[in-house]
Symmetry: C2
């Protein structure tokens, strides 16, 4: 695939710079919009508008949707009013809304002025749905059929009205009040008799989302039920839009990326890494690093308190602090990350909290036993080569390690579930925060145990 | 949606235990296979086979595919040969292959014996593709059209042959040697004239995967190009199967879960969390914890070497070790995880290594400056309340912190890219390993700097 792209770019470059514009247009008609967008983004600033204007009308909007925000904003600023109008009217409304959400307010005003009154109203409705709700990823452009049509009439209707719908493969059957009463796929229609009524062909067992549902749990329905599109209904049960699988795929990728970033203490950003400016990267990381650095004040405070006493017992106790804290942190994040991902995939819910805790405590005890026995042996046979280690010291350290692991598993399993319950983000809880908590608690435990036993 | 599921389960339970089997069958015809499977898994062992046998033929295979491996294996063991045969013949071949891959060899033999000769050959071909290749997620059941058909003839063909294909919405145009020459969607066909030839309607700009391509980069094409299906071709350019978007969605979810687990030092498993046995969980975590615990031997060795000297300078130096190591680890995993995710999404390739390094070093320097200045202030005004802190001590610690952050960013950015280059898994490099390396290096740096300056 990579080679295909390089060849395409070479041909585009060639035709563009030798000004063979009619050949270029033929090629642009065939190429994938996503590839053209990528090519355009790499052009020099002054060429972008020129090149964009060469795009055949049929593909211009599709390419525009695929561009990155900066390129979109620049183009819009240089478009004439009629150009902007053309591009917007050939675009699916959910794409228009996605673009509007990223633009500064003066550009938004221009965009809204350039659309038809009907579209403007629809866009404004879409813009009002809360962030990350199903309403923000749906499109109001779907095929709605009436139940009393015959299959033949339905095909006629689809041929006439389907061309500018996001999908025609799933059609939605509605009553006079736009209430959703069934779905019918093109496959059903093709396999039915032309004279059959829609109401006899349609499937009344409905899967749907509500406008205010969380988009993450909505896209999980796509992987669970293998659907190509999902209707979205409002409080009255009326269908107001559909979510298509291509948008669901994008959301699935985005949500996974967001969770991964949050677990690594990075504020998620929309842009691909290579397009992120230095400032964006800095801002997405700085607050977290500072927060975690400051929270380490606790650990240095704790060490400060116990330092002299520990040192008087044996310096070996110091040397093992990073091992205890590190293993505790790892044990905690193993649980936290596993549970957080399970929550994201709707595999685990808050009502499972006791089942999860029981499991994690049991695993924690077995893991703790295994790891701390190995640790005891390591202390006696390896660490003793360069540090002072008596069996009692090794036992104390291993015991502290055991307690740390069990504790870390409990904290790691409980916090993401609690976060979900009180509507905080489990992913933020998952990694750095848990490490910080486990660090502090395990350190106190370690110091206290050491003083008590030795 | 949750409520819908609870109601369904209540009705199923009711009808099953009051033995109203004809009502039950009607309900089972309407319900989603995934939901029925979930219900069946929660039944008692003795009821599972009985309940499964109540499923109408049309849905039995679909439900079977959605069951977890243990339930599948148990059912197969209790099936009669003819039952097994029926279920397999109504199943898509890619699903059959997925099931076979999880079964013990005696069950596999029985399955292969129960399929038709043609299917057995196809299944054996599919089983031979290497793990994680595009060949393993494709199905050979697609609609192939000849270029000289008219649209009307094509519709007839689809009506006759489409019912047991995984998708009919994208059809593939092949020449006499099964070479792929174009694609045509049902939407194209519906909007064309019945007398048009397929070759005039089809799109010859082909997106495709090869059988041996890595499945992760193949599914990325779905999100990039918004496709519903992707043809898979062999070395000769012949189409051997297609990948449908529902399977792509599953792979996207699985790959993200795998990466997330690896980053948290957990060996990925196929099963959802609540279905994992204690042994599975233990084995997926234990080796990593032990490895990381043992690798902490380095840090305790380093501390052992420098301990006395540092303590003689000032105990404060000890108290700050967790802060230095923790911040370094966090800084490193911020970079590592961001780059690893970008690699997984094909946003960053090895050829970008210098661009990435330059970016990370620059960000590292700015972040390092910001964080270490704040750290200096914290040391002077907060830590000084309970530890001995002179300006020179604070300066030394902050300087070490700065160097640690820059270094962590370099290691964190370079290792995943290197891993990708030498075909190791970047995700395994991403988190725990980098923390371990950064821990050791930053500790040496810290101790050496302290001794040199103080």
């Amino acid at each position: 695939m990579q080679k295909r792209l390089e060849e395409l770019f070479e041909r585009l470059n060639d035709l563009y710079y030798t000004r063979k514009f009619s050949h270029l247009k033929t090629l642009l008609l065939e190429a994938e919009p996503a590839d053209i967008a990528y090519f355009l983004e790499e052009l020099e600033e002054k060429d972008k508008l020129l090149f964009f204007r060469l795009l055949p009308k049929e593909v211009a909007s599709n390419v525009f949707v695929e561009l990155d925000v900066d390129a979109q904003e620049n183009l819009i600023k240089n478009f004439s009013d009629s150009e902007l109008c053309d591009i917007l009217n050939n675009m699916f409304l959910d794409d228009a809304v996605d673009i509007i959400e990223e633009m500064p307010s003066n550009v938004v005003k221009r965009i809204l002025k350039s659309t038809t009154l009907e579209n403007r109203n629809l866009i404004n409705e879409l813009l009002e749905y809360p962030e990350d709700s199903a309403g923000t990823i749906m499109t109001p452009e779907f095929v709605a059929l009436k139940q009393h049509l015959t299959v033949e009439e339905a095909f006629k209707y689809i041929r006439r009205n389907g061309i500018n719908k996001e999908t025609i493969y799933t059609c939605y059957v509605t009553d006079a009040k736009r209430k959703l009463i069934g779905v019918v796929t093109i496959k059903d229609l093709l396999l039915a008799n032309p004279s059959d009524l829609i109401e006899t062909v349609m499937d009344t067992n409905l899967l749907f989302a509500r406008t205010l549902d969380d988009r993450e749990s909505v896209v999980n329905l796509f992987s669970k039920y293998d659907c190509l599109a999902l209707p979205v209904i409002d409080k009255e049960g009326c269908i107001v839009g559909i979510i298509t699988v291509d948008d669901a795929v994008d959301v699935i990728q985005e949500e996974a990326t967001e969770d991964i970033h949050k677990m690594a203490a990075v504020t998620p950003t929309d842009k691909p890494y290579l397009k992120q400016g230095l400032l964006t990267i800095f801002l997405s990381r700085f607050p977290w690093l500072v927060l975690l650095m400051l929270s380490a004040t606790f650990t240095s405070l704790i060490i400060g308190v116990y330092e002299e006493k520990l040192y008087l017992i044996t310096p070996t106790l110091f040397a093992c602090i990073p091992m205890i804290m590190g293993t505790g942190g790892n044990a905690g994040s193993q649980s936290a990350v596993t549970i957080t991902r399970a929550i994201a995939l709707d595999e685990v819910k808050f009502k499972d909290v006791f089942r999860v805790l029981l499991k994690e405590i049991t695993v924690g005890i077995i893991l703790g036993l295994g790891v701390s026995i190995l640790c005891f042996l390591k202390l006696m046979f390896i660490d003793s080569l360069y540090n002072e280690v008596t069996p009692l010291i090794a036992f104390t350290i291993s015991l502290a390690l055991f307690a740390t692991i069990v504790l870390a598993k409990i904290v790691g399993a409980a916090l993401p579930l609690l976060a979900k319950k009180i509507k905080l983000d489990p992913a933020v809880m998952a990694s750095p925060f848990i490490t910080t908590i486990v660090d502090a608690v395990s350190l106190i435990l370690y110091c206290a145990l050491s003083l008590a036993i030795l």
